[in-house]
Symmetry: C2
Subunit: 301 residues, 2 copies
Amino acid sequence: MAAKLLDGEALAGKIKEGLRKEIEELKGKGITPSLAAVQVGENSASRVYIRNQRRATEEMGIDYQLHELPDTTSEEELLQFIEKLNKDPAVSGVILQMPVPGQINARKVQMSISPSKDVEGMNPVNMGMLVYGQAKVAPCTARGAMELLRSSEVELKGKEVTVVGHSEIVGKPITLMLLESLMESPTPTVCHIATKDLAAHTKKADILIVAVGKAGLIKGDMIKEGAIVIDIGINRVPVLDEKGNPVLNEKGKPKRKTVGDVVFEEAVQKASYISPVPGGVGPLTTAMLLKNTVECAKAQI
Amino acid sequence: MAAKLLDGEALAGKIKEGLRKEIEELKGKGITPSLAAVQVGENSASRVYIRNQRRATEEMGIDYQLHELPDTTSEEELLQFIEKLNKDPAVSGVILQMPVPGQINARKVQMSISPSKDVEGMNPVNMGMLVYGQAKVAPCTARGAMELLRSSEVELKGKEVTVVGHSEIVGKPITLMLLESLMESPTPTVCHIATKDLAAHTKKADILIVAVGKAGLIKGDMIKEGAIVIDIGINRVPVLDEKGNPVLNEKGKPKRKTVGDVVFEEAVQKASYISPVPGGVGPLTTAMLLKNTVECAKAQI
């Protein structure tokens, strides 16, 4: 059996279409959603994020402001800068670009973003609302993975779900989202680095959600026949030829590709649905950033 | 094998002893921890709670203030009253007595208690800090159950834990506390009313934590040999004689007793450690209310 692909690009497209309408309505009421991105210092990786964010927001009609602070900015100065954005009525949402220089505690600064402008869903208030099943915004990747899972239209009630990875912004929020319904939740098990027999847990999972960041972690024989597999890992690995040697690019350097945590070619033979990497959860992470931004703009009416 | 009892009274006593020292130190700095209890309307059950709270706090040297509002109090009036207590520097902690009259959304009012005075650990901010593993205060029963579990001194790392019950103030917070450690967490599975095969999950649990409120739910044959069993249920049931008929009290009414969710007489033969009901988690719930109150007082220095 070859699994159906859970197409993140297509789903993200549909979600964005809905958001575009909401944004038009907001503009009709005189509100233009806006996202303020704060970048501290210079970083090539975050340059890429920023370019993508700018394109994604501007395509939607969301204002994008980039604030570039010098890499000597102190934590205190950054906190003050965030506080200014928190109070600025022209700003709907605030995002701190990662990474930040060593003198800054990124988590502390992220937590200081006002709950009502918290487009990454990382403020403790919004995390707490996840416990209560009442969150308006939530961590983008976790929320995106749930959207992709729901798009399979398989009933979640009573299903055995194994979540691999217990990070604060992916594994734990997903577990809370799975437990949202009082009467119709699935039964989640949260595995992680200290889990004694990971395969025993993945093999019994009707739904397997993997968010570790370790290529090759989940092999085909660890997957239950007919399971739904949501692969959240994003790993850059060398491309190998048939003999297992690295393929070189035109500059003579090892060619690299992006893979998830699941061995896709094996898993696709066992699963009923599977999210590919790239093209699965990734596009939804961006879509959820836009959705959170719109939610923040709506809450500020 | 007969399980060792996890004695909640004894552990609560030890914890209170430590708290008493902390309270003395606080008083040395001119701070007297104080707990403001808000009772709306008249209710015989909450009378008992209040009497117990008053005794427990006053024994510790914590000031106890009871605020009695009429049962016609509106939600808005109650929110304003809470706001006054939130701002009162003489108040370290605030607790809303349950139940409240029907015109009041209890959860909404509980959430309005300032995070820094949140002795029940129910404000979303504090719930969110549980996700981050950094909570200073946490829901009393969940925290008490974890203290009792830890008192067994059994290593949690890598253990299979089954949590039965996914309530917002017990099952979910316990799960988050179990997942607190990055490298040394146990592997929790959260079961609930929609779980398809509860016994399959309880039978494989090295640690079984039950918080449902249903007498007789967990029978001996559902428990793994040598498991640790933490029974959080508190149920009032009729006392039956050998023939299964209700025993009457001196007034001719059915005599009642308090039991947990676990069939104790059966479970005690299978488990290595078990928390009795009463005398297990119950006394720790009160001790954690005191601990949270002291934490709040310390945070206000």
